[in-house]
Amino acid sequence: MPDPVTAPAEAFGIAALGGYLPLLRLDRKAASRELAWSGLPMPRTGTRSVADWDEDALTMAVEAARPLCAENAPEALRFASTSAHFTDRAQSGIALDALALPRTVRTSDAANSRRVATSALLDALLGRRDEIITAGEQRPTQPGSAAQLAFGDGAAAVRTGPGAPARLAGHASLSHDLVDRYTSREHPFSYPYEERFVRDVAVAEVLVPVIRAACAAAGIAPAQLAHVAVHEPVGATWRAAAKALGCKAPNHCEAVSDMAGDLGAAHALFGLGLALDTCEVGEYVLLVGFGSGADALVLEVTGPVPGASATAAALKEGQVLAGYSRFLSLTGSVELDWGMRAEFEQKAQATVLERVGRDMIGFIGGRDSTGNVQFPKSSFPVNPALTEVETLEDVRLADLEATVVSVTADRLNFSPDPPFDFGLVQFDNGARVLMEMVNRPAEGFRVGDRVRMRLRIKSQNRRLGFRTYFWKAAPLARPVLGDA
């Protein structure tokens, strides 16, 4: 049993929170029907979230973090994932540019355990630092595995700070190399061990002791917890742990598992968003990250946490995938023969990225002396009223809405998820940009539609393993699940 920590960081806690899920959801019942002939055990209830072809752990983590840095920059930006694309190029550094944060903000990536985001959060709180911890996950899975239907793609982020409405009241951590599942270079798909073994050991050796210790540090009994966000290694783990702890609090991570799937490193933080959206002032909320041990954080809620309700709302929005084969294609489980046009390969140049990459991924345009904004910037402004070279003032377009001027659904151009929607969009500040469009509405995009910007993969060179990122236009609102 870990020693209780008796000196929680005074009034330092979670200042705001964000969550992001991709639009698409797979209906598990429908998918399991496709595999019924195999006799393989499959989850059959709820839905899982499915990333678009141009979303990855980074793009989703940036989306989750966007609301957290609208007003000022944090001291540090931490990226957490077990499915990051780059292994020697910091995702946090790319995210920094995508979020247009100053280069003086410290960055680091954390990986190799589903628990890394809560560990990073705890470190930030104990260090009393103003940090953004953003976790994104898009884990590869194999058809036929329970994980393919149980996992989901998504992201969650938190910002720490003083005077926060969710104060760290107590915490405990436990390292325990319980191999409930693993991935490795040789085995990129998650390899699970028997559920009963995992549940029994996780409850008895990890969760119960660490939660008891955290509650003791906070000066409360587990029964006083009003809500929990416990990342379960397997289903019904919390039920068993709660019984042992004498705690009746609902685990909000179960709703995330049910409606979006297991979000890996982002799971506990996403569940925390739901818990903080539901709880009352004065209540205690438990956050537990699980993986190679556990971190348990007891939070005392002193007020509404910005972003919690948006995170909860995101869970209810989405569009159910019509076909299982499209899911298999989106997840890379089947490789369709897209023909010769798909052989297109573009090599990104590091020199170009160094020169203009930060403006591109930050979607930074320029404002001329008349006030007109353009993208990209240029020495001679595009504004016909100006004929001399000017230095344009930086203007970020990523957080602005725009209007579709012209659009088509291109079926000739190769796209891994056709059709390829693109067209001209007009920002209210004057900027006009030819853009790809994503999250196609049922009736397609139309001239005059209002759109918002989403970070996506712009190009990927699979042979060289490189990706570039840019912004794409998406509808302002998403359908509510069940209505789509």
């Binding site: 046009r341 170009v352 353009q374 659009v407 390829f420």
Partner: protein, 399 residues
């Protein structure tokens, strides 16, 4: 004050290969065919060619960059050859270079030749760029039909026209070109197609269907230009002359600045206005007898009719459906089938358009011959509606 090149340059010979899926021949062979036909037509020795402009838009597709592929193929010995490239307006750009050389007095005889060998890519549509420069970090990799399809939605929005009505007018554009292409021996697509088939074709880029898109072809076309005086000395009593060639290029305004609604191509309007002035044309609807325009897609031709001032704003669909631009109409468009059916080997297309006007002006168009042709216009458009190079040329006779 510049006076332009009206009647300062005569076309004394032209050649054009059969366009299409030319599995039988490479770019060099295509150039040879167009060149030898032009030489024979001009009735001159090849040694009289003092300079050449070769137009080729997609240098990495079996032609190669620089002067050398043309100089080698045609064995142009120590001739100053210049390769030009201006996307789909490349063919007219080559003609412009040769014409300006003659008009300036720098040379007496010049060659313009355009060539493209697209069907060695192994797939339909145009090839994609792969260089990974700044634009590739943000600009969508849209296809050509994808960029031009956007004219349709914007046009419908500007004029309040129902999508189905616009689609029918677009289908008529394609129907008409297929009718004409059937009479064009060198055309890529020579079969007539009915309206129902056009309207029911699979979508390529909303709302463009398969038959709204031009053929992607191999081919070459060439022109030999000289002074009117030399043309007469060669026995051309009433030679075809260039009345105007004008070009207009986007500076990024349409794509980056908010004043354009996407329903027209401003560069076509600018190039046409300058060409009409250079040619002394005051009323193009009354004075032009035919046009060969850049109908890469049906909606492009529809919009061009307004951009050239041949239809009133918002009236192109009804003019098209009324047959105004059909072979028997007031101002026939694409008598040879156009890009749609004659085909579109990019670097050759502008010269192919000139080839049809040149042929019609001389009364040599056979079944396609229009009874009266004194002035014909070619319009060649490179890029996309929002980032374009437009070229307008007007040809007539000297007398």
């Amino acid at each position: 004050m510049a006076t332009g090149i009206r009647d300062k340059v005569a076309i004394v010979g032209m050649g054009c290969t059969r366009f299409g899926e030319r599995w039988d021949v490479g770019a060099d062979g295509l150039m040879v065919d167009a060149f030898t036909e032009a030489l024979a037509d001009a009735g001159i020795e090849r040694a009289r060619i003092e300079a050449a402009w070769v137009g080729n838009a997609l240098d990495d597709i079996n032609v190669g960059n620089s002067a050398l592929p043309a100089a080698h193929a045609l064995r142009l010995d120590k001739v100053p050859v210049t390769r030009v490239e201006n996307m789909c307006a490349t063919g007219t750009e080559a003609l412009r270079g040769a014409a300006y050389a003659v008009a300036s007095g720098a040379v007496d005889v010049a060659l313009a030749i355009g060539v493209e060998k697209l069907k060695d890519t192994g797939y339909g549509g145009l090839p994609l760029r792969t260089k990974g420069m700044q634009n590739d970090l943000w600009m969508p990799y849209g296809s050509a039909p994808g960029t031009f399809a956007q004219l349709a939605g914007a046009y419908a929005a500007r004029h309040g026209i129902a999508a189905a009505d616009l689609k029918r007018a677009m289908a008529h554009v394609s129907w008409k070109s297929h009718q004409n292409g059937a009479l064009s021996p060198k055309a890529h697509l020579r079969g007539a197609v009915d309206m129902e088939k056009i309207l029911g074709a699979p979508l390529i880029a909303d709302p463009l269907g398969l038959f709204d898109c031009c053929g992607v072809s191999d081919g070459a076309a060439a022109a030999i230009v000289t002074t009117p005086e030399i043309a007469r000395a060669l026995g051309k009593a009433d030679p075809v002359t260039i009345k105007a060639i004008q070009l207009s290029a986007s500076n990024g305004w349409e794509m980056q600045f908010g004043a354009w609604d996407g329903a027209s191509v401003p560069n076509t309007r600018a190039a046409a206005a300058r060409a009409y002035a250079e040619a002394g044309i005051r009323d193009p609807r009354a004075e032009l007898d035919m046009t060969e325009v850049h109908d890469c897609f049906s909606i492009t031709e529809l919009v061009i009719m307004e951009d050239l001032g041949l239809s009133d704003e918002g009236r192109a669909p009804s003019d098209i459906l009324d047959g105004r631009y059909d072979a028997g109409g007031a101002i026939p468009c694409q008598l040879d089938g156009g890009l749609k059916c004659f085909g579109h080997p990019v670097g050759a297309s502008g010269l192919r358009m000139a080839y049809e006007v040149y042929t019609q002006l001389q009364g040599r168009a056979g079944e396609r011959q229009r009874s009266k042709v004194d002035l014909g216009l070619t319009h060649n458009l490179g890029g996309s509606p929002f980032n374009s190079v437009a070229a307008v040329a007007i040809l007539g006779r000297l007398n």
